[in-house]
Structure formats: structure tokens, C-alpha cells
Symmetry: C2
Subunit: 603 residues, 2 copies
């Protein structure tokens, strides 16, 4: 079953072959950023709509500002990739330059960002589908959860195959978007009316046009930039020369994203498109430019697919980042291990579960997630750029002055945008992120300090290891009756120790007498001790008995053997071993005590 869904196991040595070429890398790492044109322009319009339709003319300048920001961040990240070709991106850069706490803050921001990417892009992908087929709008939450589940499965199969599966839709999306924008601009220049009337009532003025509102609209538009980091974080997955390939792919991505973003902003303004529930702005735009024909459906399909591929970006990077944190012992060790298919299974499953919960909570509504989105991402940008700035200053490598200027501007701009987003979106949800981030950092540090304490405790001084023979372990077998299981447990106990006692706890002295008769009848030579339990408890008498022999016992641990019935079917467990479970739980924290489950396999 597992192999059908996940595929055959792959050897570790196969890791090198899983590296990917530029065209595939664009599909895996850039889909997040590029696909954001499916919702980012809409988010700008949503904020401007508060100031009435007239304010929509402001969407173009805001889009230009976002594109300028993309250029600055891209240029800054170009340098990061060359200096940190092993990948790790922000987390590694911040760790190197500012230490643990800052790196964990940056790492937490990114991890939250990936979880939000998984949720936002899934919800937006489903919105593309339900815009084309409004009948599905009522089951959008179910559609989103099923999509996320399928993407989790795909990713458990491994990264190379995902790139193969998803490369096509990215390029279909990019080229059909370019075609749509081209047609739209041509029609605009020619002065042609919309192919299909996009019915939109002028919106009422709820808030006056203010600087704060414009900044909020800009902050919403910044959600377009959430994927930029992915490329720098994933350099290790590129084919050689890794850094160069990553930089080229990054530049492609920035150009494509800017073109689509600006094109959409121009057309949306020209066609007077208003955001409305049940249909995305992109869908309205496509209907206005090309009408509800085959091309419209191709574009909606490609939009949905590239958005699911953006989810895949998160699946490519969240587990990798989690593995970096786990390698530094800030997360449980199981995040390090690659599963049978070389994918970081634990991280993938964790992302699937967290993203799914988020979708459930917001009922797959993109607008509710956007305010949470940008603040964490820009915080990590700021850390990354500041880290590079400090690195240039410290190392003074060739070209350090120019590098310092570029990353200094990058740090300044992204830092200001972080503040801007935190302030303008604070009451809409950004406060949650500001609460969650320190909690994450504390959690990660707690995990690390736990592992450190354990390591210190387990450290062995050379002279402490004994090789001499020890006295036999005092061994107690707990029995309820004389039967085949008892016989086998007695046999086994005798191979382990020469000091064996059988113990029977009961509140029924008649039954105890019968047991003692059987003991004689079967000629069992092992000593039988019967404990009366007036409170019907099995656990307390056993603990009291152990306390009484403890004083006699040497340093060798006391061994307690329980008969564990192993039925053929898992659901038969509920019919057995309840007493054993209670005993084991009670003895778990008792020092110098070892509990053995001696299995009796039923036919």
C-alpha cells in the first residue's frame, strides 16, 4: 500500500541524481512568486475599493512600486546566492552573521511563510477552479483539502518527479498569461470594447483616499513577493554550476513576474474590474479580454495548476529548512531523516497537516490569509539582507563596497516594508504573526537546550565502563493463570536469571487457592507469591512488593516480565493486555526497573 502511493525506496547514493536543471527549477522554485499574480493584484484592488471606484486609477502606480521592490530584492538575493552556494538562504546567512536568536526568528518567519504559502496558494488555486465552475463554490473547502492531500502524496514521492510532473503547467500559464495580456493591450490600443461585459457596479466610498490606505494597498501587493526567497534557499537542488544556474533562474523569474503583474494592473484598470466574491479578478479579466471560450478555460486551468505548483514550492522548501533546523538540533531529529524516497517525510507531512488546518480555519478564503502573509516574509528578507551587509563589512572580500551598497539598500527597503506591513495590517491579523514568531523561537531554543542537556548527561568518562560479570537480575513474572503463556514465560525467565519469582495479584482468595493447587499439580519449582489486593488494584500491590524487595536488591536492575497476548488482528488488542498496560505505565518512571513484554502470538 505504502509502495503504491509513495513508490519504491531509493538508495542514498541516488541523491546527486535528484538535482534539477534550470527549466525545471523555474517550475519548482519560481511558481510561488509567479503564481502570485493570481491574487496579489486583486488584493491591491480590494483595499482601494474601500475608497470607491475612482481610487482604482491608483492601482497602476502601486503596481509599479511593487515591481521596483521586486527588482531591488532580486538584485540583493543575487549576491546571497553567490556567497552561499550550499543553500540555506536566510537561515544560514542570519546564523553566520547574527547568531542563534536572529536566525531562529528569520527561520520561523520563513516556516510560517511556507505554511501560509501552502494554504494561500491552495485556496487561490481552488478559487480559479470555482471562478470557471461556480457550481463548485460551495465545496471549495473540501476541494482545497483534497488538493493539499494529493500534493502531500506527490511530494512524499520525491522532488525530481514533482518537477517533471509540474514543469508543463508553469510554462502553459506563463505563455497564456503573456498572450492574454498581449491581446488585451492590443485591444486597448485599438480602442475595442470588452469581448464580454464584466458586470461591476461602481463601489461605494467606505473610507477616504488616504496615505495610510495607499500604503495598505501597497502592503497587500507585496504578497506578490513571497516566493523570492525560495530560490536562494534551494541552491543545493540545482545542477552544477549551482550558483550561476540559480541566479539566472532568479532573474528569469523577476522579469516574468514583473511583466505579468504590470500587464494585469494596466488591463484591470482599463476594464474597470472590481473584486467580487465567487469570481477572481483574473477570471473577470480573462473574460473581458478573450471571452468565456476555450482559451479562458485553458488559462483558468493553468492558473489553478501553477498555484498548486506554488504549494509545491512550499513542500520543496519547508522540509529542507526544517532539516537545517533539526541538524542544528532546534527541531526533533526525525526532520533530518530522508524517507524511503529521499524526501524529508516528516517535514512534508507536518506542512500538509498545518496547511490543512489553516485552510479549515479560514474556510479556504485567500483574503483572510493575505494580511498574515507578507510580514513574516519581509522580516526574513530584512534579516537576510542585513546579514549580507554585515558580512561584506566583516570579510572585506573583493567588491565589498559595491556589495555593501546593494545589500544595504536591500536591507533598508525590506526593513521599511516589514514595518509598513506590520503597521497597516496589524489589526487584520499581522499581530498574530508578531505573537507567534517569538513563541516559535522559544520553542526551538527549548528543544535545543533539551538535546544539549541530554547529551551532557549521557557523556561517558573513559574509566566508568565495567566489563566484569554482575549478579543475576532479580526477575519477577506476573501471572494470572497457569496456561501455555505462563509455561513459556517461566522457561524464558529461567534463561535470563537464576533468581525468578512468580507473582499473582488478586482480590479473590478462592481463585488464588486454585492457582496454588495448579502450581503443585504442574510441578512448577519457581516460587509463587500471591498478593491480596483489597482495593482491586493490580498496580499498587506490585509497586508495594517492588518497594519491599528494593532494599534487598543490588545495583542490578529488577526485571519484570509480563505476558503480552499478540492477536492476529490489531482490533483484537482491545480485548487483551489492559492490565499489562496499566502496570507498564506505573513502572515507566520507576528507577532501576526493566519491564519486558513477553509476546504470545495467537494463531
Amino acid at each position: 500500500m505504502k509502495h503504491v502511493l509513495i513508490g519504491q525506496p531509493l538508495p542514498t547514493a541516488g541523491l546527486i541524481h535528484e538535482r534539477i536543471a534550470k527549466l525545471q527549477a523555474l517550475a519548482v522554485f519560481a511558481s510561488d512568486a509567479i503564481s502570485s499574480v493570481a491574487y496579489a493584484p486583486e488584493e491591491i484592488l480590494l483595499v482601494l475599493a474601500l475608497a470607491g471606484s475612482a481610487a482604482f486609477t491608483l492601482s497602476l502606480p502601486i503596481a509599479i512600486a511593487v515591481v521596483a521592490l521586486i527588482a531591488i530584492v532580486t538584485y540583493s538575493y543575487r549576491q546571497t546566492i553567490y556567497r552561499y552556494p550550499q543553500g540555506g538562504g536566510t537561515y544560514r546567512v542570519t546564523m553566520d552573521n547574527f547568531g542563534d536568536t536572529a536566525a531562529l526568528l528569520a527561520g520561523s518567519s520563513l516556516m510560517l511563510g511556507y505554511i501560509l504559502t501552502a494554504a494561500v496558494s491552495t485556496a487561490a488555486g481552488v478559487a480559479a477552479v470555482t471562478s470557471a465552475f461556480p457550481g463548485l463554490f460551495s465545496i471549495r473547502v473540501e476541494l482545497a483539502l483534497v488538493s493539499l492531500f494529493l500534493l502531500t502524496l506527490v511530494n512524499l514521492r520525491g522532488v525530481k518527479e514533482s518537477a517533471t510532473i509540474f514543469a508543463l503547467p508553469t510554462y502553459v500559464f506563463i505563455f497564456s498569461m503573456l498572450a492574454m495580456i498581449g491581446i488585451g493591450l492590443w485591444r486597448m490600443v485599438m480602442g475595442l470594447p470588452p469581448v464580454e461585459a464584466v458586470a461591476s457596479l461602481p463601489s461605494a466610498v467606505i473610507a477616504p483616499t488616504s496615505v495610510f490606505l495607499l500604503l495598505r494597498a501597497f502592503a497587500s501587493g507585496c504578497s506578490a513577493m513571497t516566493g523570492t526567497e525560495a530560490m536562494a534557499d534551494g541552491v543545493a537542488a540545482f545542477k552544477e554550476p549551482q550558483a550561476k544556474n540559480a541566479v539566472v533562474t532568479l532573474l528569469w523569474m523577476a522579469v516574468i513576474l514583473s511583466t505579468l503583474f504590470l500587464g494585469m494592473a494596466i488591463l484591470a484598470q482599463h476594464l474597470h474590474i472590481l473584486p467580487r466574491e465567487g469570481e477572481t479578478v483574473l477570471s473577470q479579466l480573462a473574460r473581458g479580454v478573450v471571452g468565456r471560450g476555450p482559451f479562458y478555460f485553458l488559462l483558468q486551468g493553468a492558473t489553478a495548476l501553477i498555484l498548486f505548483l506554488a504549494v509545491n514550492t512550499a513542500f520543496a522548501d519547508f522540509p529542507r529548512l526544517a532539516s537545517f533546523l533539526a541538524a542544528d538540533r532546534f527541531l526533533p531529529r526525525q526532520f533530518i531523516f530522508r524517507g524511503d524516497r529521499l524526501a524529508f517525510s516528516t517535514g512534508i507531512i507536518a506542512l500538509g497537516v498545518l496547511g490543512g488546518l489553516l485552510l479549515l480555519v479560514v474556510h479556504a478564503d485567500v483574503h483572510l490569509l493575505i494580511p498574515l502573509y507578507a510580514v513574516g516574509v519581509f522580516l526574513s528578507f530584512t534579516f537576510s539582507q542585513s546579514g549580507m551587509f554585515k558580512r561584506w563589512w566583516t570579510l572585506r572580500e573583493p567588491g565589498w563596497q559595491q556589495g555593501m551598497i546593494i545589500n544595504g539598500i536591500g536591507a533598508l527597503v525590506t526593513g521599511m516594508v516589514t514595518l509598513l506591513v506590520a503597521i497597516t495590517k496589524f489589526t487584520h491579523g499581522a499581530w498574530m504573526i508578531l505573537v507567534l514568531l517569538p513563541m516559535f523561537v522559544i520553542l526551538f531554543k527549548g528543544i535545543r537546550s533539551h538535546y544539549d542537556r541530554v547529551k551532557a548527561q549521557l557523556f561517558l568518562k573513559e574509566q566508568t565502563l565495567p566489563n566484569f560479570p554482575l549478579p543475576p537480575s532479580k526477575t519477577i513474572i506476573l501471572i494470572s493463570d497457569v496456561n501455555k503463556a505462563t509455561a513459556r514465560i517461566l522457561r524464558y525467565a529461567m534463561t535470563l536469571s537464576s533468581d525468578v519469582v512468580a507473582l499473582h495479584v488478586t482480590d479473590d482468595l478462592d481463585a488464588a487457592r486454585k492457582l496454588r493447587e495448579k502450581w503443585v499439580k504442574y510441578h512448577i519449582r519457581t516460587h509463587l507469591t500471591i498478593l491480596e489486593s483489597p482495593y482491586r488494584s493490580l498496580v499498587y500491590p506490585v509497586l508495594a512488593y517492588l518497594d519491599s524487595i528494593e532494599s534487598e536488591a543490588q545495583k542490578t536492575p529488577v526485571t519484570i516480565i509480563l505476558s503480552a497476548i499478540v492477536p492476529k488482528h490489531w482490533w483484537e488488542y482491545i480485548l487483551h493486555n489492559q492490565d499489562g498496560l496499566r502496570i507498564k505505565t506505573a513502572l515507566l518512571f520507576r528507577a532501576n526497573t526493566v519491564v519486558i513484554d513477553y509476546p504470545y502470538h495467537l494463531d
Copy 2:
């Protein structure tokens, strides 16, 4: 924590003192039947409402028919109590006279009935509260779940205390209901108008008055009888003379129930009360008779409390019945054991969980549960009466002719009512019960046959027990590093066996070489075997290794020792032992293999 909520443990010998006097027994066992006046008359009116307000005049004849049925069933059960003073009621009677299958069918009917009682009475109790305080209507599901949870806790404390806690509200309910009916009848005779106008629009005719509709209304009214069985099932809880006390209490109950039921039917018809959402018929009635004053709130409060006490009836009897089935090995053994406080903890918790689920599914709506309710209860009545009929015929004890006539009539009448309820309520949910009952019987028989098979497998022939010494168990310790845990595990393994091998699985040969160096550095004489795992799996190499030594091994089991880190806090578990868990799961079903968790307790 457990002791604060549940109380100090009680000794088994205290069981006899937990028996209860008649006045308390009425509170514990009769509250179910008596409290049904809070919903049964309303259910009759709800069906009649389909035929329009004019049909309401028929509610009185139907109520009289229900009272006649109460008389017949009560008189029949009187005989059952005298013949089966050890309690056990229907299940025991049916087992004695018709064998396993019929007894399990009757037992299943009763158990379903108790679960439904828990849900219906909780929902009705909450409805009494929300009728008085309509603002709480929107949180009725939460209120119901919290009430059920509190009742579960109370019952885990033990039956005597519950009787003490609940005796007062029963009597307050009975006397305030009698007072309210008395005032109402007096006002009716005097020709006085309602104190408070109970606004009710005449209902439209949805279905014509038909015999089928009348029978359906009667079937709904039969939900009043669901508690009658409880007394016979619980004879063992009465003070001596048990049977006589139980019969007297049963008769009290029947008289009180009939009086309240008829009185309510007369008044509801006189005041033209119509069932409506958000307020119970009883609440409307009380407002009409005494107005929304202190007495009204007293009555609503007492109604809510006696309904919660009815839930308690289910908590008194479901676990007891489950313990009878478990004693006959039709349910898991843990249903037999009394907890620290002498209550059947497993049964109580099971009832709390199942009742809570039911409340969640129907959103605490009484009307949705009623159709499921009566069919199972009357099926068990029929089995009980038929069983008594057969018993008179077989044993021919003194007075057998008279007994046979009484129980024969009882069997005939309850059998007819069972059919009637099954047919008239079939499409409203009774079909579910008809599907569930055979499934329960199959489940119970499956459990019994599992226990029988296990017993047969474990049976030990006298000559098979060996007392001779055996060769040492081949012992394998799995290690990841050389540290204090490793040192202690090595020590312990050497006390158990003279044939110890240390095993290390890795995909990193550098780390393996370092481990071997440490082995030398610490002068460890135990043999170290390193297994390379190209697929990074820990489990498969260990399994393969075990297969390879299996051929050499004698009949003595192979022992595998794992180091289990026991952290101080339970939530730290997620940071440890993931590998151990995987190994243990893989080895659980392997024959001739014993896995030992050797605990290392962290400070």
C-alpha cells in the same frame, strides 16, 4: 488530580454498604420513567399537529392508552423481580429461557436504549433550561455536552453518593408537578382563563387524521415507558429485602408516572398548547397555569434536574448490564472491573462518550432521537415477558397459571407495540436500530468466540511444563553511540545472557569507523557488528540480521534490547525514541523474539 475529581479509593468489602433504600432507589431508578413526562406528551402532540389543531382532542385517549400500557408492563415486571432477585433483568431472563442469541438481542436493545436515554434526557434537560432562558438556546449543544461530562464524573465517584446528590430534585419535581397539575385542574373546573396567554397559532393540516397517524402518536407516547426496565435490572442495588423493596418502588413509580402523564394531557388539551421550537410544551403549560413567576422557574429547574437524574439511571444500569455481558465474555474484560470507587469505570466512560457523540450528531434535538428510542426498549420488554412466560410453562412453580396469563398478556401487548413502533417510526429512524441490533449481536458473539479460541489455545497439558535449565538467550543490543546509556545497557545485557552482540545500523561509514574507535578506546569486550543501510532504513537491516542468526538459534527466544530515553516530561517524548518505536512495531509480530526497552531516566 484523579482523587480530587473521583474521590479516595474504596475497598471491595464496602460494596454491601453501597446498597440503597427505597426513597433513594426511586430517585435513581425511576427518574428515567417519571422524567419522560417532560417530553413524551409533547411527542404525541407533535405527531397530532400534522393533522391540524382539531386532532389535539385525540391526545387524551392516546394518553389513556399509554397509561394502560404502563399498568400492564409494571404488573408483568413485578413478577420478574420476584423470580430474579439477583437483578440482571431482561438479559438474564432471556439468557435462561431462550439462550445466547435472544439474550444478546435483548441486551443490545437495552444498551442502545440506555445510550439513547443518556442523550434524550440530557437534551430534554437542556431544553427545559433554554425554555426558561431563551438566550441560552444557541449554546444548547455545548450545555448538553458539559452536563453529560459532569454526570460522567459524578458516576465515577460511585452510586451511593449519586443517589444522595439527586434524591431531592426528584421529589421537588414530583411534588411541584402535582401542585401545578392540581392548580391547573382547579382553574379548569372554575372556568378561569390562562394566567399567561400561551400564543399558539392553529396549525395547518399537513396529513389527514388516520389510524396510522394515531398509531404513530401512540408510538411516540410510548417513549414515556423507557425507564420501566431499570428497576428490574437493578434489584441487586436495593436494601434487603431486595425484591420486595424493588416491587414497591416499581408500583410507586407507575402511579406517579400515570398521574403526571394524564394530568399533563388534560391540561395541554384544555389550554390548546401547540409544540414549538425553542420552548417545551411543559414550559408553555406551566406559564399558562401559574405564569412566569418563581414557581415556574422552580418547576423548570426541577425538570432539568430530574432529567439529568434520568441520565443517571442510564449511568447506573448501562455499566451494570455491560458487566453482565463481560462476565459472560461477550464484552472486553475491563467492563467487569470496578474502579477505585467501586463503580464500573469502563462502562461509565463508554456511556459518556457514546451519549456525547449522539448529542453532537443530532445537535441536542430530542425530536430526532425519539423515533430511535422506543423500538429497542419494547423489543427488550417483549423478550423479558416471553422469557417469563416460558419459565412458568417449564418450571410449573406454584401460581404458574396466573403468572403465565399475566406475562402472556405482557408479552403479547409489548410484542404488538414493538411491531407498531417499528412500522410507524421506520422511516424516521427506527430502521437504524433494526440494522444496529444484529450488528451488535454479531460483535458480541465475535468477542466471545475470540476469548474462547484464546482459552483453548492457551490450555496447558500437564506434561508440557519444562523445569530443566535452558541455554542462554541470544541477546542483541542496538546502539547508536557509546555513552552512559550504552554502558548501562551493556552491563544489564551481561547479567541476562552470556551471548551478547552489540549492533549498530548506519548509512554513514565515517561515523561507523569512529564508533569502532570508541569501542576500542573504552575497552569494550562485547562483540560489535556494524550493518550498512544503503536505504537509510533502520528496520530492514535489523530484520535481515535476525533472519540470518535465526537459523543458528535454538528454541530459546532471541532478546533485543533497545535503549529507551525516559524524559521527565511527557511532551519531551516527541524528541526521543522514534527509532525504537519503529523497531518495536516491526518486531511485534515476529515469532520467538522478545524486545526489551531498557529505560534511561533523564534528570
